[in-house]
Symmetry: C2
Subunit: 352 residues, 2 copies
């Protein structure tokens, strides 16, 4: 309950996190040199290890995100412009991509796969995810006319279903029936874990509210799946180059957002007004999470990403019990159990 | 929410239903002639049909039970002795068993398998389920010192797990991993569907409360599984004979309960004091449900019984929306979805 309340407040205040969360899907770079160094052609065990490492990294980074929110809330600071923080996250990821690339160039030399030069044919699809997220973020301002913040948190779980459906349709990858069962359970389990005494209000959402929620879920799912398609289209292409171009467009779109949404505040109070140590930590965390998402897209897939962020949501609540004396509800236990069974079914139901 | 409230009140008042529900496990006879006539040796399709018919009958009868409770609550009558009603249910089932047997004798003649005569070796185990339920019903009076009625409703879902575990241990039947996953989900789904704003209190249950809840779940699960073992031990033995003996002991144990619990009320106000038309309907319904449970035990198993009564719980809530203008909660939708997936997994996960 307590945990959920904070997540809700988070949306009420419309702080950096909810916006940065949306950006995660289009965030891509390389964490540090050792993962980046592993070229294609390594054996299956290395692939599995790599998949495991990036999945764990994403889970841990996503959990610590929410912890940071709670922590920063306690300090009571939220005076900066969300759009500037988003812009800095993209810039940081861009810089990390370049850093990783320079190390690779020094070791391996510039090759066809790791050169920064690109073709129109390769780059033309890169602005799509950034554009989708911008559109979704704009919609987010309007949906609050129809749904309250806790209701929006509940409806956001539709993302799980939309990701699964679009993953099937666009990437043409099959999930087994057992895995689909698991995916439906993941959505139910996450929602159950977030239930509180006011959750029933979401059932009174009007038709336009439902439509917007579904459209937003589709936009978010589409952006994620599209990013995976872009990254996987050229398997031998270095992930850092792909990320670099994605982030360049991310920077550009966020620059536009600064002008549209926060021009006055930035012009009057400066670009870095209201920044604190925690803001810096959060930007760092979001940049690294973005990189982890990108790695998961390259070496695993959107389904793994959804599982990883869902489990992170539950982990955060458990950690918060120790850090902030939160109480876990019965609904949380039930939801966590359902999510755990869902994770099991996803692996047990693998198509042979 | 509304639906649940009524279920809770039901326990608060300690009316006939909660007691009769406990009796269901030891209730056994034959519904009507046509099912009873089907002898052993019929082909697989007939077996499946029979299994389907008895499962549907149990589901419908269990759903209508709760509807009857709500209906009778509205009429505001509950002045009779619960123990006398239980006794009459056992007597009615006994009478129906005999009726079915006389029809069979007339058609097929008296054989080794359908004669009423029994041996000490066959009959010695028949009092066990009745004794287990009596013990469980006595415990039920004490547990309310530790748990409130809505909390007890939640804890009763432990029956699902205990039945699964004892089914595995005592009957030595294997469930596949997927089916176990489904069984855990069934428990979570049913509990989720019953969640209300006060459900979290159950987490504060003290250790003695938990122990009693677990002991009661084990007693209930053990009685169910033991009944299945008794009935299935002699597959060719006519179910009506097996039921007859079970119900004879049921009558005996309930007669003891009348003396212990309601002697004064029955002596002063008479055996049938406070009976109404609805009471008669409920007794009829419970007798038929008991017969259906017995059929499920003979032709299917305890797992099917648990699924069937769980689905009945959800059906009741949906029907109540139309009959009594109830509102369904978000938790109910989530729980129902989880239960539906669980039903799918039980059938998809069948061991080959």
């Amino acid at each position: 309950m307590e945990y959920r309340k904070i997540k809700d407040e988070d949306d009420d205040d419309h702080d950096v996190t909810s916006d940065l969360e949306n950006l995660k899907g289009k965030s891509h770079t390389v964490t540090s040199s050792n993962i980046a160094m592993i070229g294609p052609g390594t054996n299956e065990i290395t692939n599995w290890k790599r998949k495991g490492v990036v999945t764990c990294a994403l889970t841990i980074l996503t959990s610590s995100q929410s912890i940071l929110i709670v922590w920063s809330k306690r300090a009571g600071k939220y005076e900066y412009s969300v759009t500037t923080a988003n812009f800095l996250v993209e810039t940081l990821k861009c810089a990390l991509s370049l850093l990783a690339l320079t190390r690779i160039w020094r070791k391996e030399g510039v090759t066809k796969d790791n050169r920064l030069n690109t073709t129109y044919d390769e780059v033309k699809v890169f602005p799509v995810p950034a554009a989708l997220y911008l559109f979704k973020n704009l919609l987010q301002y309007y949906i609050f006319a129809y749904v309250d913040a806790p209701g929006y948190q509940i409806l956001k779980n539709l993302n799980i279903i939309s990701t699964g459906v679009l993953y099937r349709i666009i990437l043409k990858k099959k999930l087994s029936e057992i895995q689909w069962a698991g995916f439906i359970l993941l959505c139910c389990g996450c929602t159950t874990a977030q239930l509180n005494s006011n959750s029933d209000r979401v059932l009174q959402t009007s038709l336009p509210g439902w439509i917007m929620a579904i459209v937003m879920a589709l936009l978010s799912g589409f952006a994620g799946v599209y990013t995976e398609a872009i990254i996987k289209k050229r398997p031998s292409r270095n992930i850092n180059v792909q990320n670099f171009w994605l982030y360049v467009f991310g920077m550009a779109f966020n620059a536009v957002a600064i002008v549209i949404q926060d021009f006055d505040a930035v012009a009057n109070k400066g670009f870095f007004h209201g920044y604190s140590f925690i803001t810096v930590l959060m930007i760092l965390n979001h940049a690294l999470s973005g990189i982890a998402v990108s790695m998961v897209m390259k070496y695993a897939d959107n389904i793994v990403k959804v599982y990883s962020t869902s489990v992170a949501m539950l982990l955060t609540a458990v950690v918060s019990v120790f850090l902030f004396n939160f109480h876990l509800s019965l609904a949380f236990f039930l939801g966590s159990t359902v999510v755990s069974v869902s994770v099991y079914l996803h692996s047990a139901g693998k198509l042979r």
